[in-house]
């Protein structure tokens, strides 16, 4: 069980780094979506017996993080008519290096912090901190709104990963983390509405100039 889980956490870390190194927005979205789906399956691995609440969390996470949010993001991409991050504040290679440094730092931090016996040997803590930092780097190092939202999504995935440590004691709070996805949804809706509004605005101004003498 621990082995599979660590493999999946490692895979999701790889996806974070992929998002950091990629300039194409669709592949960043895809990385974030895959990561969400992988994380969604983790509660099932963590739990010995099947509890309906845990299954519900898993399904909800996979649907929201893996399908709904990425689809919204793709719609925003179409509305904004862009697919590349042209001028990032921090270049792709430096952000990758920063991400790698974050992974090492998180591993060190994870070793320094005490764990419950059932969590020793898992990568949950270092994986979570590394993912949070990778998301944060993407958030501040990119200029395009959609890459920033993907950064937020990855940051949030990291927090969700940490929440798995608590899924037995406070399952409701872990589920409440889904509210963060709502934040992402508001972001994306913001982008779409902004695009639509701008188009309306230009139409309106054109009308106003035709009425003028």
């Amino acid at each position: 069980m621990g082995g599979t889980m660590n493999l999946l956490i490692g895979l999701s870390l790889g996806l974070s780094l992929m998002a950091l190194g990629s300039s194409r927005l669709p592949s960043i979205i895809r990385a974030a979506a895959f990561q969400g789906m992988i994380l969604g399956t983790l509660p099932l691995l963590l739990e010995q017996e099947f509890h309906w609440l845990v299954v519900a969390v898993a399904i909800g996470t996979i649907v929201v993080k893996g399908f709904i949010i990425p689809n919204l993001l793709r719609r925003a991409l179409r509305a904004a008519k862009i697919d590349r991050e042209v001028e990032p504040l921090v270049g792709f290679v430096p952000s990758l290096l920063l991400g790698a440094a974050a992974v090492i730092g998180a591993a060190a931090l994870g070793n320094a912090l005490p764990l419950r016996p059932e969590h020793t040997g898992t990568l949950l803590v270092p994986g979570s901190f590394a993912t949070v930092v990778c998301g944060f780097i993407l958030l501040v190092a990119r200029t395009k709104a959609i890459s920033q939202v993907c950064g937020y999504l990855i940051l949030e995935n990291g927090i969700y990963l940490f929440g798995l440590l608590l899924i037995n004691s406070t399952p409701l709070l872990v589920e409440a983390g889904i509210l963060l996805d709502l934040t992402v949804a508001v972001f994306v809706i913001g982008i779409i509405v902004d695009r639509i509004q701008r188009e309306f605005d230009t139409l309106d101004t054109r009308k106003l100039t035709t009425l003028r003498e």
Binding site: R116, I159, L166, T170, L173, L179, L180, T183, F187
Partner: protein, 480 residues
């Protein structure tokens, strides 16, 4: 039951506002709900209910010490709101009114939350519901402001969730149940795992500090306050930030009980003084009088953090300052909003001579600025005086000097800008030939009421409030 109604009334009113068919009469739901809410809050202030142990929310001494203020702030702002929305009849107000009422309900929930998780849910929902309020004007600048607010505030709130998880895990590692109710966390005390506790404090302080607007996480504030309608600014500066401050106080209580009080004091003092310093710097240079109010808010959040860091009398003074600052800020935001409408611009290079164009609002703004920069006999003077006394009592001479220096520079900066826009000839020729703004009682009385509150709190602080603040201080820092 009454404490539940504090949450239910605004939410029900929000539902009604959403379904209400008439644009013109809908804003009246604001003062109706605000009035009921205030009545209930004052009732609870006078006659507090017994607190159920282990409950997820309740009207505990800390909620009692701040919630009535938020209620009063909302009521007066809502009266302003009725006139404001009738002036701005060109904008649809369904979402705006609904969001305002939901915000009041969520603030009541957050201030009464006795569970870290519930507190987080309320704080997160407040963040989301603020977005349409900031975007009310629908301009590109408003969009930018709401975007930045959501990005910075959203990251902050995400960090505070991570911090809450860490605190829960600290309890689990310390062989607790991971129960995030504050009483049980405090009861667990020193058995909370120390490394996780420190991680949690750092993350929660960064997270809720962002919501509160402590420097260097304050960057959303100038944009949001600059672009939002005045009444929204007043509610953010007095309501949302108070919620975040209460969250920090509650977490501090847990961390202190676990025996890491020295760390919380040092970090809060550092963040507080740094916020005051940054705010003073920006106050000296900003040309925009609405952004000025944001930096003033950063400054006062710093003052609150310093007060909270000192504990005991400092904490008492900080709770006092929560009231004086929020209610004085109300007058400033509302009068600045009036001036913004009369002038059509908000920077000193475009606005001048407002004493002629909007005489009443300009006068309120001047008096308000003097009140907020701690001129006696307004409330802010007395609360800041108490904090300074507490700093001296704690023998932090350097902190006291820095504190006073920042206050002085903030005073220079704010009076500089305010007199620049109030005095002189109206700058814009087109505006100068136009008529004066009609300053109806609807937009003048609410800020005057705020000033009256500020004066009243300063000259005759009700003994009931003093007792309530003492009770909250005793709850949070048991050793006097």
């Amino acid at each position: 039951m009454k404490e539940l109604s504090l949450i239910a009334i605004p939410l029900l009113a929000a539902g009604a506002a959403f379904l209400w068919p008439n644009e013109r009469t809908r804003p009246w739901l604001l003062p109706v709900a605000g009035g009921l809410h205030t009545l209930l809050a004052l009732w609870l202030l006078i006659d507090p209910p017994a607190l159920a142990t282990g409950a997820w929310f309740g009207f505990d001494p800390l909620a009692r010490a701040v919630l009535p203020m938020v209620s009063l702030l909302f009521l007066v702002c809502s009266m302003y709101g009725v006139t404001y929305l009738s002036i701005r009849a060109e904008r649809k107000n369904r979402v705006f009114v609904t969001a305002l009422l939901v915000m009041l309900g969520l603030l009541s929930l957050a201030l009464q939350a006795q569970n870290l998780g519930l507190l987080w849910v309320a704080a997160e929902a407040t963040t989301l519901v603020t977005v349409p309020l900031l975007h009310f004007n629908g301009t590109a600048r408003a969009f930018e402001a709401s975007w930045k607010y959501l990005l910075v505030g959203g990251t902050g709130i995400a960090l505070s969730l991570l911090g809450s998880f860490c605190l829960g895990y600290a309890s689990l590692v310390g062989n607790g149940h991971g129960d995030l109710t504050f009483t049980s966390l405090v009861a667990q005390g020193a058995s909370l795992s120390r490394p996780w506790l420190i991680t949690a404090w750092v993350l929660l302080l960064a997270g809720y500090g962002t919501k509160m607007g402590l420097a260097p996480m304050h960057t959303w504030k100038p944009d949001a306050y600059g672009e939002a309608p005045g009444m929204v600014g007043a509610l953010l500066a007095g309501g949302t930030t108070t919620m975040a401050f209460v969250a920090i106080l509650r977490v501090k209580q847990v961390v202190d009980a676990a025996g890491a009080g020295a760390m919380t004091e040092r970090t809060l003092l550092a963040f507080g003084l740094f916020s005051m310093f940054v705010a003073a710097l920006f106050l000296l240079t900003t040309p925009d009088y609405k952004r000025m109010l944001a930096y003033s808010s950063v400054e006062h959040m710093g003052i609150l953090a310093v007060g909270a860091a000192l504990g005991g009398t400092g904490l008492w003074a900080a709770l006092f300052h929560v009231w004086t600052n929020a209610l004085t800020k109300g007058a400033l935001f509302l009068s600045a909003g009036n001036i913004r409408r009369a002038a059509g611009a908000q920077t000193a290079d475009k606005v001048a001579g407002m004493a002629w164009r909007s005489p009443a609002s300009a006068r309120i703004l001047i008096v308000g600025i003097l009140a907020v920069t701690a001129c006696p006999p307004f409330g802010v003077f007395f609360s800041e005086l108490k904090i300074i006394l507490a700093i001296f009592l704690a023998n932090h001479t350097f902190a006291a000097v820095a504190f006073l220096g920042c206050l002085l520079f903030a005073f220079f900066g704010m009076t500089r800008l305010v007199f620049a826009i109030v005095d002189g000839r109206p700058r814009n020729a087109a505006l100068a030939t136009g008529q004066k703004l009609r300053e109806t009682p609807g937009v003048i009385l609410p800020p005057l009421v705020f000033l009256a509150f500020s004066l009243w709190l300063g000259l005759a602080t009700p003994s009931l409030l003093r007792e309530v603040w003492t009770a909250a201080t005793n709850l949070l820092s048991p050793t006097p």
